[in-house]
C-alpha cells in the first residue's frame, strides 16, 4: 500500500489507480469539474484482494481459526483446562475404546475417539489454543525485534547497519529446524519455550524487509520535510517512515504465523514441544501415530487436516495480500 501510494503520488492523476485514472481522464475531458474519487491505500488493497477467491477463502479460514482459538484461550483458565468443547478433552472413557483402538467417527463423535476413549474433536478444539498462541506470540517476538533493529539498520546505515545485517545473515544461514531443536534442548520442553525458540529466529526476516523499505523511503521528500521541521530521528522513523513501509511486513506476518504453527506442530511431533496433558495438533499426530498404522486412521487424519487447512489459510491469504499490494501487478 505504502509504495503504491508513493508511486501514484508521482502520477499526474493523484491517488487514482490506472484504470480509474484513465476513466477519470476521459471524464475530465468531457466535464472538467468532475472530482475524482480518491481511494485510500487500504480500500485499494481490499478492492484488489477481494477479487482473489483463494485469498478470501484463506481470510475466512483465518477468521474461523482466530475466533475458535480466542474462545479456547479464554475458556481454558475458566474451565480448568477443559476448554469450551462438546466433551471433556481429557476424560477417559473406555467404553468408547473397547479394543483399545478408539472408535471411528460417529454422529456423537464426528472425529471419533482415541485409544483412551477421549473425543478427538474436543481435543482438536482445545489444541487450537496452542496454535493460536504460538502464531501470535512467536511472530510478535520476531516482529518486535525486527521492527526495532530493521529501521535502525536502514535509517542510520554504516557500521550499525553492517553489524545488524551480518547478524541477520547468520540467523538466515542457520538451519532452521536445527536451531529450534537446539534452543528447545537448551530451554527444555514446553510450549512457552517453543514460542521463544521460534520467536528468536523470526526477527531476521522482519528486520531485513523493514530495512529495505526504510532505505527506499528515507530519501523521499516528505521525510526530508519532516527533518527540516526539526523532527527527531525516532519520530521520523516511527511516525513517518515505518507506517509507510508496512505492506511487505503484513505479508510476512501472515506467512510467518503459518510457519510458526507448522514449526510448533513439528516440535510437538518430535516430542519436545507441548507436553501432556496439553493437546496440540502436532502432539496428537505423534501420540496417535502407532494407531494409524494399526488401522485407526481418524486419530491422525483429523488433526492433520486441521493443521493443513489452517496453514493453507495463512499461505493463501499471505500470497493474496502480496499480490494485492504489489504495484507491479496492477492491471
Amino acid at each position: 500500500m505504502a509504495s503504491d501510494e508513493h508511486d501514484r503520488g508521482r502520477e499526474p492523476v493523484t491517488g487514482l489507480t490506472e484504470v480509474e485514472g484513465a476513466a477519470a481522464g476521459a471524464a475530465v475531458a468531457a466535464a472538467p469539474a468532475a472530482a475524482p474519487k480518491v481511494l485510500s491505500p487500504w480500500s485499494d488493497t481490499w478492492r484488489r484482494l477481494k477479487k482473489n477467491k483463494l485469498a478470501l477463502i484463506g481470510l475466512g479460514i483465518i477468521a474461523v481459526f482466530i475466533v475458535v482459538g480466542i474462545v479456547q484461550v479464554i475458556a481454558y483458565p475458566l474451565t480448568d483446562g477443559r476448554g469450551l468443547t462438546p466433551y471433556d478433552p481429557n476424560a477417559e472413557n473406555y467404553s468408547l475404546s473397547p479394543t483399545g483402538h478408539g472408535s471411528s467417527p460417529s454422529l456423537s463423535h464426528p472425529m471419533g475417539t482415541d485409544y483412551l476413549g477421549r473425543d478427538i474433536l474436543s481435543r482438536a478444539l482445545v489444541a487450537t489454543r496452542i496454535s493460536l498462541l504460538v502464531g501470535v506470540i512467536a511472530v510478535a517476538i520476531g516482529l518486535i525485534i525486527g521492527l526495532i533493529l530493521g529501521p535502525i539498520s536502514g535509517y542510520y546505515g554504516g557500521f550499525v547497519d553492517t553489524v545488524i545485517m551480518r547478524l541477520a545473515d547468520i540467523f538466515f544461514a542457520y538451519p532452521y529446524i536445527l536451531f529450534v531443536l537446539l534452543i528447545m534442548t537448551v530451554l527444555g520442553p514446553g510450549f512457552v519455550n517453543v514460542f521463544l525458540a521460534i520467536g528468536i529466529l523470526g526477527w531476521a526476516s522482519f528486520a531485513r524487509i523493514v530495512r529495505g523499505q526504510v532505505l527506499s523511503v528515507k530519501s523521499m521528500e516528505y521525510v526530508e520535510a519532516a527533518r527540516a521541521q526539526g523532527a527527531s530521528d525516532l519520530r521520523i522513523i516511527f511516525r513517518h517512515v515505518l507506517p509507510n513501509s508496512m505492506a511487505p511486513v503484513y505479508v510476512t506476518i501472515a506467512m510467518s504465523v503459518g510457519g510458526a504453527i507448522v514449526t510448533e506442530a513439528a516440535m510437538s511431533f518430535l516430542g519436545i514441544g507441548v507436553q501432556p496433558p496439553n493437546a496440540s495438533w502436532g502432539k496428537m499426530i505423534s501420540d496417535y501415530l502407532n494407531y494409524l498404522f494399526a488401522g485407526s486412521w481418524w486419530m491422525v487424519l483429523f488433526p492433520s487436516v486441521l493443521l493443513t487447512v489452517t496453514v493453507f489459510g495463512f499461505i493463501s491469504f499471505g500470497n493474496g495480500l502480496r499480490d494485492a499490494t504489489d504495484p507491479r501487478l496492477k492491471e
Binding site: 537446539l182 534442548t185 492433520s304 495463512f314
Partner: protein, 324 residues
C-alpha cells in the same frame, strides 16, 4: 566479478564463524554435565573428573571453542562422545543417503516448472484455478504429516492390498554409492521420502513459476516480440521461457543446498539414515561434537549453494551486476 566473490567469501566466513559460535554457546548452556553422562551412572567423581579433563571439558568455553576451531581449520571435526568415531567419518558415512534424497527431491520438484508455466499461459482457466488451488493446499501440508501418510498409504496399505512389499516403511537400504542408490532396496526406500519432500516443493515451485511467468509475459519486450508478429510458440518458448525460469531455478538451487544439509523431519519420520537423522540423534544424546560438526556441515553446504546460485544467476542474466 572477482572482487564480488572475494567479498562474498569473506561475508560467508563471518556467517560460518557466527553460526559455529551460536552453536557452541547453545551446547555449552544445555542443562546437564556431559562428562557425567559419558561416565555412566555408577561412575566415581574421580572418573568423571578424568573424563572431563580428557575431553577438555574443564576448560572455559572460549578455550574449548578455540581448540575446536583449530581442529576444523585442519579438517578435523572432533570425535563423537559416544560412538568412538570421528565426526568427519560419520558425515562421510551419512552423506550418500542425504545426497540421494536431496537430488531426488529436487528432480521431483522441478516438475513444478512445466505446471507453473502451463498455469500462467492459461491464466484464470479451469486448469489454472485447479492447479493453483492444489498448489496452495499441498504447500500447506507440513512435511512430517505428508511423510506419515505416505508411509501409511504406500508403505503399508498398498502392500496389504497387493500382497507384496514394494516400498519399505523405513530405512535407506544398503548405500555405498554416492549419488545413485546402490541396490533395488535402497532405490525403493528412496521413493517415499523423496516424493514426500518433492511433492510439497512441486507445489511451491509451480506457484512461483506461475507468478514469474505471468510477470515476464506482461513485460515490454514480450509485447515487442508479439508486435513483431512472432508466433506465440517463439514468443513463449524462445523469449519468455528463459527469463521466467531463472528465478525458479534459484529457488531449486537453494532448496538443494538446504536439503543436502539434511532433511531432519523427513529423515526422522522415515527413520532414514542421513545427515539430518545423525544430527537429530546427536541432539537427543547431547553428543556435542557431532552436533557442532553437523550444524557446521549443513550451514557450509547451504551458504555455498546460495553463493553458486547467485553467481549462476549473474552468469545467465546480464542485467544482474554483482558488484553493485
Amino acid at each position: 566479478m572477482l572482487t564480488y566473490i572475494v567479498r562474498r567469501l569473506l561475508q560467508l566466513f563471518i556467517v560460518l564463524f557466527g553460526v559455529s559460535i551460536i552453536t557452541f554457546v547453545m551446547l555449552y548452556v544445555i542443562p546437564g554435565d556431559p562428562a557425567r553422562m559419558l561416565a555412566g551412572k555408577n561412575a566415581t567423581e574421580e572418573k568423571i573428573q578424568e573424563i572431563r579433563v580428557q575431553k577438555g571439558l574443564d576448560k572455559p568455553i572460549y578455550i574449548q571453542y578455540g581448540k575446536w576451531l583449530g581442529g576444523v581449520l585442519q579438517g578435523d571435526l572432533g570425535e563423537s562422545y559416544y560412538l568412538q568415531q570421528s565426526v568427519g567419518s560419520m558425515i562421510v558415512e551419512n552423506a550418500p543417503n542425504t545426497i540421494q534424497l536431496a537430488l531426488a527431491a529436487v528432480l521431483i520438484e522441478l516438475l513444478g516448472v512445466p505446471l507453473g508455466i502451463y498455469s500462467a499461459l492459461r491464466q484464470y482457466s479451469f486448469w489454472d484455478t485447479t492447479l493453483t488451488t492444489a498448489a496452495l493446499i499441498v504447500w500447506g501440508i507440513p512435511v512430517f504429516v505428508l511423510g506419515v501418510f505416505m508411509q501409511w498409504f504406500f508403505g503399508l496399505k498398498l502392500d496389504q492390498w497387493l500382497g507384496v512389499d514394494i516400498f519399505p516403511l523405513t530405512g535407506a537400504g544398503d548405500n555405498v554409492l554416492w549419488v545413485i542408490p546402490a541396490s533395488w532396496e535402497s532405490l525403493m526406500s528412496l521413493v517415499l521420502p523423496a516424493v514426500t519432500l518433492g511433492v510439497i516443493e512441486v507445489a511451491y515451485i509451480s506457484y512461483m513459476q506461475r507468478a514469474s511467468m505471468l510477470e515476464v509475459i506482461r513485460s515490454d519486450y514480450i509485447r515487442t516480440a508479439r508486435a513483431k508478429g512472432l508466433s506465440e510458440r517463439v514468443v513463449v518458448g524462445k523469449h519468455a521461457l528463459k527469463n521466467a525460469v531463472i528465478p525458479v531455478m534459484t529457488i531449486a538451487g537453494i532448496d538443494l543446498g538446504a536439503l543436502l544439509g539434511g532433511a531432519i523431519l523427513t529423515e526422522t519420520v522415515f527413520a532414514r539414515p542421513g545427515i539430518g537423522l545423525m544430527i537429530y540423534e546427536a541432539i537427543g544424546r547431547r553428543d556435542a561434537p557431532v552436533i557442532a560438526g553437523g550444524v557446521l556441515f549443513a550451514t557450509v553446504v547451504y551458504v555455498f549453494a546460495n553463493l553458486f546460485v547467485d553467481l549462476g544467476y549473474a552468469a545467465v542474466d546480464p542485467r544482474i551486476r554483482l558488484e553493485e
